[in-house]
């Protein structure tokens, strides 16, 4: 619990309008898009400057109060909730764009700036911010940095860390630092690279210097239809083997297509076993040649139909189907669990077969929506919480799915991050020495352990927390995959 003196001090730092301390007010911050993991903070602070963030962190340091950073709250890993109470620091009032420097292809923004808004601000001049998670209409740049967000176009362009030149942060030790600059290289250790993806456990991002790219000359979007996900996966492997790096290679299977068509109506062929949404971008002559090759490959891999978007409207509709998918899944199932595992892309067909076998064994429907180009799967395990035993089977299937992917040489999470949802799973991928190294790294930035405690790293069993049953995980309508 926070003392009245503490709350007064907090209000002095961020202004009385910047503190939420009522029970109802705090409840609205008790979870992010992963609504099972709930933990209301003892107070929410909404600073408007980096200096205020620094003062809040130092106040919490003095009093030994946990700090939980939060951007737009669109994460799906239970990262932006406060299981141990403390002060949640929300960046929603930090929305300034300090500078757009197109000569140096960069922009400096506060963490609360919305991803898509950043791109829109520079689009007319011919530039964009490449990381495009499906939640980009709502998610914040700071949040993108915290989770090292991806999105369909990261196949070609990389993930957030490849587009961050520098960060201003308040570390867990209370230091306000600028890491990196406009220069494309720095001496010393890559602290920016370590901070991105650290999920608020090393510090709070208070400004981001992002790299901007020039828009490509041309874009081509193709929808290829298959009778099975295996065929689609083999096609993806063949495209990559042909030396084509597409801008995006997304796959949806039959249940996913059904949900999209019922919920959104993107023009996906209902009843098809799978579709591949393929996007190429770059110099016009290059993408024309690549498109020709891709069509050839699709045909020789049993594509039933190949459709090329004729204009921007058609392209947008195809993407609306993909990016709006998670909102449509409610048409298929009441409840669902979501994975974010990565497998080597050459193992995609094998992974799909394994996943289908697991779901069949547990008598559950699993829908597939995934970034086929980089092997990042998003199996959606459908269940009905009201049917006895289904949740348990879903949890079991979830665990087996993940183990199967790791056994193929994959990774626990490709873009969503770890949070609390996947912390225990890190043990599937890393040994004790590896995890110990990470724990020590964390301590360097956060010596007293106040920064987002309980997130990202598995707790040591000796600490008395159970690693037993993975709690039920449900995502609400409107969550993004």
């Amino acid at each position: 619990m926070l003392t009245p003196e503490f709350l007064r001090e907090l209000a002095r730092i961020v202004g009385p309008a910047g503190v939420v301390a009522t029970p109802e007010g705090r409840l609205t911050y008790e979870c992010d898009m992963h609504t099972f993991y709930k933990g209301a903070p003892d107070a929410v602070a909404l600073p408007t400057s980096a200096e205020q963030v620094g003062e809040v962190v130092r106040l919490c340091l003095r009093e030994g109060i946990p700090v939980v950073p939060r951007g737009s709250g669109t994460g799906v890993i239970g990262g932006a909730m406060a299981p141990r109470g403390g002060v949640m620091v929300s960046t929603t009032r930090m929305t300034r764009t300090f500078e757009v420097d197109l000569l140096n292809r960069c922009a400096t923004v506060e963490p609360g700036v919305i991803n898509l808004q950043l791109t829109h601000a520079v689009k007319d001049r011919g530039y964009f911010f490449a990381p495009d998670p499906s939640s980009q209409m709502v998610c914040s740049i700071g949040g993108n940095c915290a989770t090292n967000a991806g999105g369909p176009h990261c196949l070609k362009y990389g993930i957030t860390v490849n587009h961050v030149l520098g960060l201003q942060v308040v570390t867990g030790a209370g230091e306000l630092l600028w890491l990196g600059s406009k220069a494309r290289e720095r001496v010393g250790y890559d602290l920016t690279g370590v901070m991105v993806g650290s999920e608020g456990t090393l510090g709070i991002v208070t400004a981001v210097r992002v790299r901007l790219l020039h828009l490509p000359e041309a874009v081509k979007t193709i929808l290829a239809v298959f009778s099975s996900v295996e065929d689609a996966s083999e096609t993806v492997s063949a495209i990559i083997a042909a030396g084509i790096i597409a801008a995006a290679l997304e796959c949806l299977d039959e249940p996913a297509i059904r949900a999209v068509e019922e919920g959104i109506g993107a023009g996906y062929p209902k009843g098809a076993g799978a579709v591949l949404l393929i996007e190429l971008d770059g110099p016009r002559a290059e993408i024309e040649a690549q498109a020709e090759k891709i069509v050839e490959i699709c045909r020789s891999h049993l594509a039933l139909e190949i459709r090329v978007a004729q204009d921007e409207a058609e392209r947008e509709l195809l993407w609306k189907g993909r990016k709006g998918f998670a909102g449509a899944i409610g048409r298929l199932t009441r409840n669902w669990l979501l994975q974010d595992a990565v497998v080597p892309r050459s193992k995609l067909p094998q992974a799909i077969r394994a996943l289908n076998a697991i779901s069949a064994r547990h008598r559950l429907l699993v829908a597939h929506v995934f970034h086929a180009g980089d092997g990042n799967l998003h199996p959606i395990i459908c269940y009905d919480a009201e049917q006895p035993g289904e949740l348990e089977r879903a949890m079991q299937a979830n665990e087996e799915l993940l183990r199967a992917c790791i056994a193929m040489g994959g990774s626990v999470t490709g873009e969503h991050g770890v949070g609390v949802d996947k912390a225990a799973n890190l043990r599937l991928q890393y040994g004790e020495a590896d995890l110990a190294f990470m724990a020590r790294l964390r301590q360097v930035f956060d010596p007293t352990g106040i920064m987002n405690p309980g997130k990202l790293l598995p707790s040591h069993p000796a600490c008395g927390e159970t690693l037993s049953a993975v709690p039920p995980q449900s995502l609400p309508q409107g969550a993004w995959v």
């Binding site: 140096n104 290289e185 370590v194 290059e286 080597p344 040994g431």
Partner: protein, 437 residues
């Protein structure tokens, strides 16, 4: 626990075998690091041996200096102490090549050219092209974060390293990152180790992201009457949808050194793609060049790129990093500075990234080098957050200054905490990194 030098030597020998430990003073001199001759050179053949060597070094507080092929051993401040040089060149095995995933895992001692030969039959490559040394080891290139012109399109080691196995100061073999192209599981340990000069751990195994070779490539050299005009040309390319693979700005002295037609400045460009796209981009480049008064010469092949490294040999080598848009201006300033001091300066710059390689020859005292060249350069780049690293210089100059340049104290403090945490006994390449850590 061994206490005498002879006993230590015996223990080291028992780890790597007699043939792979050097303790003969005559042979050791060729392994000197900036004049400091080591007491031993050990060449482990397995990752376990690296672990054992470091455990011993940790126990006995031996200063360990990692070495790949030895071509860039001079990078860094003068060493504090050199007890054991760890020659990683025997660790060169390929662990797993997955062409269909565009990834490869190799031991860190493998050379760039050996890797290139391995990948070429599958029409794949690793786009790391430091100007000096295709014979260098991958571990060396990653540990020094060395890069070349291809960074424009493909990024540097920071973007290409997916997973890393390394040995900590106490001998613990540790893994970070992943073997797949996309992973955010836990902290990004590979990023921490890139460019760290072995000061947090010795790299033994690397998982790298590969790229498909382009179908066709064309190269041009565009000469300009001034660095300013070259700068306008560069700005035009950067502010367009053109996708060159390489964009290198050269000064007059560099052109002379390459036996190319003289001009105050020139830009070498590579475009790689399918033939129609190479042609169309080439046409666009011609248009831009004409607009900015450039004289275009189509090059017969990519041979020019292989010759650039030689320009930097035997000189005082400085790497200037500035905001990319200031590259041409910086080149002008360097030219002017050199002229004023009677020096010859050859400049090669990765213009899209603001990285200038400056090779200086001339007759200055160490004090003059520092006061009249390095400090002014550092003043110029300071405001934009750039850096000036003295990459190769005579020892008397290196003794006078920190080759890496200043780091903001708050940031440096965090770096020192990292070093203290992972190398508490200060045995990993002591004295060589930033702030002489």
């Amino acid at each position: 626990m061994a206490v005498t030098a002879a006993a230590l030597g015996d223990t080291l020998e028992s780890v790597v075998g007699r043939n792979y430990l050097i303790s003969d003073p005559l042979r050791l001199t060729s392994y000197a690091v900036d004049g400091s001759v080591p007491r031993w050179v050990a060449a482990p053949g397995h990752v376990e041996e690296v672990g054992a060597l470091l455990r011993l070094a940790f126990d006995e507080r031996l200063a360990v200096v990692p070495r790949g092929t030895g071509e860039r051993m001079e990078l860094g401040n003068l060493p504090g102490r050199v007890d054991l040089v760890l020659d990683c060149s025997r660790l060169s095995a390929e662990v797993a090549y997955e062409p269909d995933d565009l990834t490869i895992t190799v031991r860190a001692g493998l050379s760039l050219e050996a890797l290139s030969a391995r990948l070429a039959p599958r029409r794949q490559f690793l786009p790391l092209d430091p100007l000096v040394g295709s014979s260098r080891s991958l571990g060396g290139v990653v540990a020094t974060n060395d890069s070349g012109p291809l960074r424009l399109r493909y990024g540097t080691a920071r973007d290409l390293l997916l997973g890393v196995r390394f040995v900590q100061a106490d001998g613990t073999v540790t893994f970070g990152g992943a073997r797949v192209v996309k992973s955010v599981t836990g902290y990004d340990i590979p990023k921490l180790l890139v460019g760290s000069l072995g000061t947090l751990g010795i790299l033994v195994e690397l998982t790298l992201r590969l790229h498909p070779m382009v179908e066709a490539e064309a190269h041009w050299l565009v000469s300009f009457p001034s660095a300013e005009r070259a700068g306008a040309f560069l700005a035009g390319i950067v502010d367009s949808a053109l996708q060159p693979s390489r964009l290198e700005l050269l000064n007059g002295e560099a052109l002379i050194g390459l036996a190319l037609p003289h001009a105050p400045a020139a830009v070498a460009v590579t475009v790689g793609s399918v033939p129609p796209a190479v042609r169309s981009q080439g046409e666009a480049l011609l248009t831009l060049a004409a607009r900015d008064g450039g004289e275009v010469r189509a090059l017969p092949d990519g041979g020019l790129w292989r010759r650039l490294g030689r320009l930097l040999a035997g000189a005082l080598l400085v790497k200037v990093v500035t905001a990319p848009a200031l590259t041409a201006e910086m080149l002008s300033s360097v030219d002017e500075l050199a002229r004023g001091l009677g020096l010859r300066a050859r400049v090669l710059a990765e213009a899209g990234d603001g990285v200038l390689h400056v090779a200086l020859t001339g007759d200055l005292s160490p004090e003059q080098w520092e006061r009249s060249v390095i400090l002014p350069l550092r003043d110029w780049v300071g405001p934009e957050g750039g850096s000036v690293v003295v990459e190769a210089a005579p020892q008397p100059l290196k003794a006078r200054l920190d080759v890496w340049g200043p780091i903001e104290p708050g940031v440096l403090a965090v770096m020192r905490r990292l070093k203290a945490e992972f190398d508490p006994r200060g045995i990993l390449n002591p004295g060589r990194f930033v702030d002489r850590m």
